[in-house]
Point group: C2
Chain length 194, copies 2
DNA sequence: CGCGACGTTGATTTGCCTCAACGATTGTGG
DNA sequence: CCACAATCGTTGAGGCAAATCAACGTCGCG
């Protein structure tokens, strides 16, 4: 499988010497999942981080009524894991599922620790990665109480332009925090207005 | 000012040798702020991280209508910054304000970089700190769309037991994402029920 | 073909907001 | 030390954004 996307992803934040690059690649495992395959089930343990090369993943919870709530999407170039379970070793709160046939690189937690020991720069890489992710979740939390659904949808469109037309509307509705019915009405009202 | 709380905070995640401890402490500046003092204003630049020793801080945004929305509180033992501005150098989205007379340790961004160079372990420390923070924001985002206000309030009570009775209800209402009026009604309905 | 997932539309309900009025407490300047 | 303003919490009436429930059309697929 193609290692270029994940190397490009890492190089955006840290410089890599050829030997460091080799050490990194040696710890990665390729994986593919078919559409709808469940890669992590809530209640299980998350032991690895996934980097999407092609396809798309989603993470979501299932509430007491059995309803699903999407937390995040991972199109190509994005990382995904249940961070809570990954760092604590406790039962995962999230499910992770492939929305399309998906190709990934997998970095297991033990291999990640090995990587930190061999190439300490990666501590920095993941710190910055998590920092950026934190900033975006803070903003989403504020948006959730500050903005009406329509503006959250527009933000989604500008943030994930590639997903707007490829994902089922149901998934997008759940991501921005509304029901599929309301999402449909909101969208047709939007189209009618321009 | 007392360095014990911040050393204890760091030691929960990494081991420190005496010389590393000294290098760390040498980079910290003490600061105090009076109740209501603004430590960071949206639009300005956040250039430092704050560690609260005594008192309490809050971060919040002001929306187009002039309404405030609390993102987070920092009671003793917590860190606070506008991470977006801190890491990007761009205009801050958040305001940071003292809710009481507050004593803090301040670590400026340049000093933090110095610290990373002198004691690389601190990359690890802040990575773990940010990881934990990220996990809690992910959960809050899900809670915001999954749980009714009443359950979000109960979660708040168990998460910040020390703040429940010391903070103005207005601030707590804003944190969980409801108006003060609704919060008041919700709370009296809760009390009436047990 | 027939079934299941998806999207649409309408009628009704509800959780929470807005606006307004009113005590109680705090704090501040004269 | 008092008077007054400001802030805070409470309560009520009415309104709105979004949820719920239900019915229906469409598509892709076994």
């Amino acid at each position: 499988m193609d290692a270029a996307p994940i190397l490009a992803n890492v190089r955006r934040l840290i410089d890599l010497q050829p030997d460091e690059e080799q050490a990194f690649l040696a710890l990665l495992q390729p994986r593919q999942a078919r559409r709808k395959a469940l890669l992590l089930e809530a209640g299980g343990t998350c032991t690895e981080s996934l980097f999407v090369v092609e396809g798309c993943l989603r993470s979501f919870t299932v509430d007491a009524d059995g309803a699903e709530h999407v937390l995040s999407f991972a199109p190509p170039g994005w990382w995904m894991a249940d961070l809570y379970s990954l760092v604590s070793g406790r039962a995962a709160l999230l499910n992770i599922q492939a929305l399309e046939d998906t190709q990934m690189w997998v970095l297991s937690r033990p291999d990640q620790e090995t990587l930190f020991a061999q190439v300490p720069k990666f501590e920095r890489f993941f710190r910055i990665l998590v920092e950026r992710s934190l900033v975006s979740y803070q903003q989403r939390l504020l948006d959730q109480t500050t903005l009406p659904a329509e503006e959250r949808y527009q933000k989604f469109c500008s943030y994930y332009p590639s997903l707007v037309h490829t994902l089922p509307q149901k998934q997008i509705a759940s991501f921005i925090g509304v029901t599929p019915e309301f999402f449909s009405k909101m969208r047709s009202a939007l189209l009618r207005r321009d």
